[in-house]
């Protein structure tokens, strides 16, 4: 059913500075069939295939008579399809149909609860040009953001673009994350991501266990509906005074919580102060968050470092975060990724100690001993687990050979 009196809709972006995106305009007509006016930067190379895609989508959505304008600035097919579907859905908001491009085979991988999450790269959900090569910079996770980086009027655009990206963009093994909107709007976002192999859902401005539970319930419903077998984890983001105080409750609200993150921009505003480089204003919140996450057995993840030009500042900030107990940091620019990885890398002393613990543990296991000892000291299971993580980080940072046991 069509929105009353609405005969024209637009979607996408136009202008001299637009790259890898397109602008679509659909004007409904009473007759005359489909008239497509295509102006494309890649007309010579892909003009025909763009036309084919648009005509195929017209047929799929049963659009018979319309004047369509497509101004293309080198958009990839998943972008053109998302923009076109948006223009259709802005005309016909009640349509339940979804135009799904084939799911990329290489995107069929899954994740684990304790996966390394040193870096998570934020990508604005309505900016496709940033999606395409994001995985090449090797972040541990990529966040397609539906929340703060998307203008309120473009939320519907980002939902379709993120859905298409989850299906069509190769993230080269990075954990596939989506930051949904603050609840209750965030619940509506789930149907665009749950069926498309999202690994981790980031819950912004989380202030209660109920919010996590509400998401878990909706995710379970959608998983059942779409027959999704793989695990989907949650990362609540604490961004308020109340959230900090309730952080343990939130961290332990669901078995699918894999990490708890802090967002200091909103938090400092909430407690009536401003972020400083020293970070004294947030020390309570960050320590509380680390404690809450550790108590719940999940990973504590630090906020982003917002000065993308200051790599030394970033490095110092990661060293400080590591000293507080954090395991990861948000990134807003790909160049921050290697700096964060290096700064989270274990020191040579940490690696040596971890090697001894792991070897002692394996030796004890081999002998069937229930107790692990290193010299005269007893080693607890959490210590072994931490040592294993140190070894993993050392290997990932090329500080230790994979076959270190044989060396």
């Amino acid at each position: 059913m069509r929105t009353k009196n609405l005969t024209k809709s637009i979607a996408g972006k136009r202008g001299d500075n637009i790259r890898s995106d397109c602008y679509i305009e659909i004007q409904l007509k009473e007759s005359g069939g489909i008239k497509l006016e295509l102006k494309s930067k890649v007309e010579v190379m892909y003009g025909e295939s763009i036309r084919e895609l648009i005509f195929e989508m017209c047929e799929y959505f049963n659009l018979k008579n319309a004047k369509i304008v497509c101004e293309d600035y080198g958009a990839l097919p998943f972008v053109i399809a998302a923009r076109f579907e948006l223009a259709i859905k802005r005309l016909f908001p009640n349509t339940k149909k979804e135009f799904l491009l084939p799911f990329l085979k290489q995107n069929e991988y899954s994740t684990t609860k304790d996966r390394l999450r040193r870096t998570r790269l934020y990508l604005p959900g309505n900016e496709p040009k940033f999606f395409i090569n994001a995985g090449l910079h090797s972040p541990d996770g990529i966040i397609l953001d539906l929340e703060d980086s998307v203008a309120p009027t473009e939320k519907d655009a980002a939902q379709l673009l993120v859905r298409n990206a989850l299906r069509s963009v190769d993230f080269y093994g990075a954990e596939r994350m989506v930051r949904i909107n603050q609840l209750p709007k965030g619940l509506e976002d789930l149907k665009y991501i749950v069926p498309h192999n999202v690994h981790v859902i980031l819950i912004p401005k989380c202030e209660s266990a109920e919010q996590v539970n509400a998401i878990e319930k909706e995710v379970e419903k959608l998983k059942k509906q779409f027959d999704i077998k793989s695990e989907i984890y949650f990362m609540p983001i604490i961004e308020s005074a109340l959230g900090v105080l309730k952080s343990y409750e939130i961290a332990s609200a669901s078995k699918f919580n894999c990490a708890l993150a802090i967002g200091l921009e909103d938090y400092t505003a909430d407690i009536g102060t401003q972020r400083t480089n020293e970070g004294r204003e947030s020390i309570f919140a960050r320590q509380m968050l680390v404690n809450a996450a550790r108590a719940a057995g999940i990973q504590p993840i630090d906020t982003v470092y917002s000065d993308v030009a200051d790599m030394e500042g970033l490095r110092q900030s990661v060293i400080e975060a590591k000293s507080l107990g954090f395991e990861g940091k948000g990134c807003i620019h790909p160049r921050q990724i290697p700096v964060v990885h290096q700064a989270f890398a274990p020191t040579s002393d940490e690696i040596e100690k971890a090697k001894k613990i792991v070897l002692a543990f394996e030796e004890a296991e081999k002998k069937g001993l229930g107790v692990v000892a290193l010299g005269s000291k007893m080693i607890d299971p959490p210590v072994v687990k931490r040592a294993l993580r140190t070894i993993e980080l050392a290997i990932l940072n090329n500080l230790l050979d994979k076959n270190w046991r044989k060396q």
Partner: protein
């Protein structure tokens, strides 16, 4: 027009603008015999005894030089997009009613789109030089009367020296000159760097006019253009805007993907063992090839390695290397920013060079082959490592060759390219226009991996244990095609109409540029 298949398998004409052409015969296969071209003998008795060659304006100089229909007039691109003199020159030529000029610039820029009206009205017959931006579009659409000829900087020197192009009148814009005609580019209010691209013109042209806005008392020293080769000197108010010698392409890229490419190149030079004490490299203009310099500097610092020389296109990044002791010399062919100009003027180890020393294929050797690694760009490469720098994948001429072809003779030629731009694949099955044969291109570095020419077994072996993503070029292409939504269609070209030819460094014809259908 009769087209034949050359040694690279490309269809090329055997005659262009009434001149017979030699099809490309293969790398290093064409070695002409005979003698160099020679300028007419002049006698100093015909020149002012007081050494004052100043004439009142450019029109007078052109008249005295005997300008007439059908002549070849040369200009130079030291000011890049800030050039005033070329547009002024053709306004005067047009006003004089002269027709059918062969314009022989060392390069053209968007600022020269004013000349389109003179190409339309017959003042200019055709261009031999680069056809950038609007001039490229005009040419590609088949609107130029004659056929364009694209040459590298070294190829331009070779063409004049070999007698392939005879320059009737050379017009040299000089930031500083004296009344005798001695001229330099490294000082004056419009200082632009070396004037090396004008050197061959000053040596071989029938008549040479120096145009300056900074006339100094004799002697203008150090000079790059010698007054003994100059016929007339003209003083005007302003020859150009030196701030526009700096273009977007001479700033380091901010794109994280291009920075990743730059980082890969620096690591490659180290891992392949090229970065060692006394080595040398060339960095051209272009965001990515410039960005690799700071990355390389970090590695040189860590390994305590110093270069013997670096080749420019100088920029502030090369100047930093020189000032901080990471290289003994900069050998500078053209200057891309004002810090480069200052360094050239003030630092004796920042050396003026010309296409004769650096690139000339018909010289007794040249600097290009001494360079350990050259980092260059390209608009397209194909799976056989052939590369294109003059046309885009839509068939339109958009760039000149610059020194690119000449640099391919370095010991390790590295092309730094994104695997695709927006939705335009850069790695293709076959390049639209062949500018550099694959056998001279050793490494292609993209954000999706590094492809080494299978011929370079030594390089493949050297980086065997590197952590770099070394990949097969065809594999990268396959991935890019899949991202872009299939193989790109080729441009619709009129294979009956050659609009320009691309010369190889030895003067033979490497490829043809065909008219683009505009319907």
């Amino acid at each position: 027009m009769k087209l034949v298949k050359n040694a690279a398998g490309r269809l090329v004409p055997i005659e262009v603008n009434g001149q017979e052409q030699i099809p490309f015969r293969g790398i290093n296969k064409h070695k002409p015999t005979g003698y160099k071209s020679k300028p007419p003998i002049r006698s100093c008795v015909d020149y002012p005894w007081d050494g004052n060659k100043l004439v009142k304006d450019l029109k007078t100089a052109l008249k005295k030089a005997g300008i007439k229909d059908g002549m070849t007039i040369s200009t130079h691109h030291h000011f890049r997009n800030g050039d005033y003199v070329t547009n002024m020159l053709f306004d005067i030529i047009h006003e004089m009613g002269i027709k059918n000029i062969r314009w022989f610039p060392s390069a053209s820029f968007p600022v020269h789109q004013n000349l389109i009206k003179y190409l339309e009205d017959g003042t200019i017959h055709h261009i031999e030089g680069s056809m950038n931006g609007p001039l490229g579009k005009f040419t590609s659409e088949g609107k130029m009367k004659g056929i364009g000829v694209l040459r590298s900087h070294g190829g331009r020197y070779q063409a004049v020296q070999d007698g392939e192009v005879h320059i009737d009148i050379a017009v040299i814009a000089a930031p500083t000159a004296d009344e005798f005609g001695n001229a330099t580019g490294d000082r004056g209010p419009a200082a632009c760097g070396p004037l090396g691209f004008a050197l061959v013109d000053s040596e071989y042209a029938d008549k040479v006019i120096v145009v300056t806005d900074n006339l100094v008392p004799f002697p203008c020293y150090p000079w790059m253009i010698q007054g003994n080769n100059v016929d007339y000197v003209v003083k005007i108010d302003s020859i150009g805007d030196p701030s526009k010698i700096v273009s977007g392409t001479t700033e380091i890229t901010k794109s994280p993907d291009r920075l990743l490419i730059a980082e890969y190149i620096a690591q490659f030079l180290e891992d392949a063992g090229i970065m060692k004490d006394g080595f040398s490299f060339q960095a051209g203009a272009g965001g990515t090839s410039l960005a690799f310099i700071p990355f390389l500097k970090e590695r040189m610092k860590a390994k305590n390695v110093k270069a013997r020389f670096v080749r420019g296109g100088s920029t502030k990044y090369l100047v930093e290397l020189l000032n901080e002791g990471f290289t003994d010399y900069i050998l500078d062919g053209q200057t891309f920013d004002l810090e480069g100009v200052k360094s050239l003027r003030e630092n004796p180890n920042h050396i003026n060079t010309s296409p004769f020393t650096s690139y000339n294929f018909h010289g007794k050797g040249n600097f290009a082959s001494i360079v350990d690694a050259a980092i260059l760009g390209a608009t397209e490469v194909d799976v056989n490592f052939n590369a294109n720098v003059v046309t885009h994948s839509d068939g339109y001429l958009l760039h000149g060759i610059g020194g690119w072809q000449n640099c391919l003779y370095s010991k390790c030629t590295i092309l730094a390219i994104p695997s695709f731009r927006d939705r335009i694949p850069v790695i293709v099955d076959e390049v639209t226009t062949l500018c550099g044969p694959g056998e001279l291109i050793d490494v292609i570095v993209t954000e999706r991996g590094i492809a080494i020419n299978p011929k370079r077994k030594d390089l493949l072996k050297a980086v065997k244990n590197s952590s770099l993503p070394i990949r097969d070029l065809k594999e990268i292409k396959k991935e890019v095609d899949s991202i872009c939504g299939g193989k790109p269609a080729k441009p619709k070209l009129n294979k009956e109409k050659v609009v320009a030819i691309v010369k190889w460094v030895d003067g033979t014809v490497l490829d043809s540029v065909f008219q683009v259908y505009t319907d």
